[in-house]
């Protein structure tokens, strides 16, 4: 246990260093670009005095290192500044829009694991048979289109031609929203005990989450297959076969876990990619998440909001990677039992 705690602390430490690096990077990019953010925020009719005042308030007249100092000082108080687009604290905006995006990404992540890994196992089991080839083609196809392409194709097929799923939004308009506790509509509905809302929310999330997860499913299937095939070449599998263990027992008990470890790392990376791709799927399904906000603030050069959004998304990504590392530690006894390094 001790070694796990040590590893966790070390990972959190390096992640914090990386996060500070991300803040510097995005802060620098945001400050060196041409154009005066104060002028853009106030519009073409603003007077010179108004602009000067805003520049003063945003510390835009100081040098970049001083500006970064102000930024870090605010950040340590949990303050990401005021969005020039909504005129509210950036943290308030993100807290409002992030849960919808996270809910979508978590559902998609679930699909990725629930479909991708079994498909990979099937392909490995029937190596070089038609099942294997179909999974391979499927996997290649799914990673060959951005998620917005899958989103419009799925929407056209399963929302318009076969009207099985709703076209847009998180929930039917006439339904009352449950109390906002976690921001996850499905969870809030359950806390509220409102089953109608719960079912309706699930019904709305299925299609966008599936569109978002498709390329991840392909990736997960491909990697699981490759790793399973590798594992089956190992001597201890041969030994298990020599002992006459059933194919099922070998697959589930001996081959699966070691094959899962390399896949998990990639699944973590894919999860991060989905945080970005969610922007595309949200745009197609009019999902009220971080996407519309993100695109709006980017188009308006709303510096605080852009820096805040990127920082929060990167932090999410680092957290996911730490969780994946923990899972790997849990699965792999060689890491779990090793004396702390």
């Amino acid at each position: 246990m001790n070694s796990v705690v040590k590893m966790l602390l070390k990972r959190i430490g390096t992640s914090l260093v990386v996060l500070i690096g991300v803040s510097m990077l995005i802060f620098t990019i945001a400050r060196v670009i041409p154009g005066d953010p104060a002028r853009i925020a106030l519009g073409p009719n603003a007077s010179i005095e108004q602009i000067d005042k805003l520049r003063e308030r945003l510390h835009l007249n100081d040098n970049i290192i001083t500006q970064y100092g102000y930024f870090i000082k605010d950040l340590s108080n949990g303050n990401l500044g005021i969005s020039l687009y909504t005129n509210r604290p950036v943290t308030t905006d993100i807290a409002q829009f992030l849960p919808a995006t996270l809910e979508l990404v978590i559902f998609a992540g679930f699909f990725m694991v629930a479909f991708g890994i079994p498909l990979g196992i099937i392909a490995a089991k029937y190596k070089d048979k038609w099942q294997d080839h179909s999974v391979r083609i499927l996997a290649l196809l799914t990673v060959s289109a951005p998620s917005f392409v899958w989103a419009v194709i799925l929407m056209l097929l399963f929302a318009f031609f076969l009207p099985l799923f709703p076209v847009a939004g998180r929930i039917d308009d006439q339904l009352l929203l449950p109390d906002n506790i976690t921001g996850f509509l499905t969870v809030d509905a359950l806390i509220d005990g409102n089953f109608t809302v719960f079912v309706n929310a699930i019904w709305h999330i299925l299609l966008p989450a599936f569109a978002l997860s498709l390329s991840g499913i392909g990736q997960a299937a491909r990697l699981t297959r490759a790793n399973m095939v590798e594992t089956y070449k190992k001597p201890y599998i041969e030994m298990a076969q020599a002992f006459g263990f059933s194919a099922k027992r070998i697959a589930t008990k001996y081959a699966f876990k070691p094959s899962l470890i390399p896949s998990l790392t990639i699944i973590g990376l894919d999860f991060a990619a989905m945080l970005g791709n969610a922007f595309l799927v949200e745009a197609v399904f009019a999902w009220p998440g971080l996407s519309r906000y993100g695109v709006q603030v980017i188009l308006r050069k709303d510096l605080n909001a852009i820096v805040g959004t990127v920082l929060v998304i990167s932090a999410m990504f680092l957290v996911v990677n730490i969780i994946v590392d923990l899972l790997i530690t849990y699965i792999n006894p060689r890491i779990r039992l090793a004396k702390g390094q």
């Binding site: 060959s144 318009f160 980017i298 990127v310």
Partner: protein
Amino acid sequence: MKKIFYQLTSNPMSLLGVILVSIVILSAIFADFITPFPEHRGAIVDFSNFNQPPHWPNIFGTDLVGRDLFTRIIYAYRISLILGFVVLVISVPIGVSIGLVAGYMGGWTETILMRITDVFLSIPPLVLAMSVMGLLEPSLFNGMMAVTIMWWPWYTRLVYNLTRSETQEGYVLAAEIIGASKFHIIFREILPNCWASIITKMALDLGFVILIAASLSFLGLGVQAPTPDLGSMVAEGGNYLPDSWWLVIFPALAILIAVFGFNLLGDALREILGGEE
């Protein structure tokens, strides 16, 4: 070279890849000759023939101002390919050099270079490109810059790992013993052994650059009208579903076909050249 071409065409999947990629590249090059209405790639309006479903001679239908969709898709291929080539030509040398230096030198150089790489890799690619793109003005050139900034770290990561294992090899030690310069060892000894992996990744990446560029313009952060672009075509047509389905389906399939082709080709190259995943 002949052998590689033979191996590529002997397997049905890689043959399909070669065919798809050839179609995409040739149609982009000869767009002026194969498209029925080359002038439709620009700002042209033909309201007598707008928003028509596929029919002869507009085999993919026409868009909201009456331009031939087939023509615009072929010209969009041209723009996407140019963008993909430029991005790789700039980002691969940068990424590869940093990876080589970090992997061979070790110590503080390695720590600093790889931490910087980690920073770039810990922002989801699309989000990084979006922010860079949005902070600049959306345009083709800035699109190339934005994608380049997010692309080099992947090559650094790849080449760094390769270099780390190559450095253990006997030939590197031999070169060190005879007193070869660091520059010579890095670029003349280690680099040639990384080519297979780099080229494989480039073939795969050409597809992915097209994919990312389409995603950017889908969000309105890429190539601007009237330049034809697959991503913005899908975005525009999305407002007219399901009635004007052709506005969405053909550009969407065009993206899928191009990226699928490059993926098949990259996959086949990986098997032939033995590059890394």
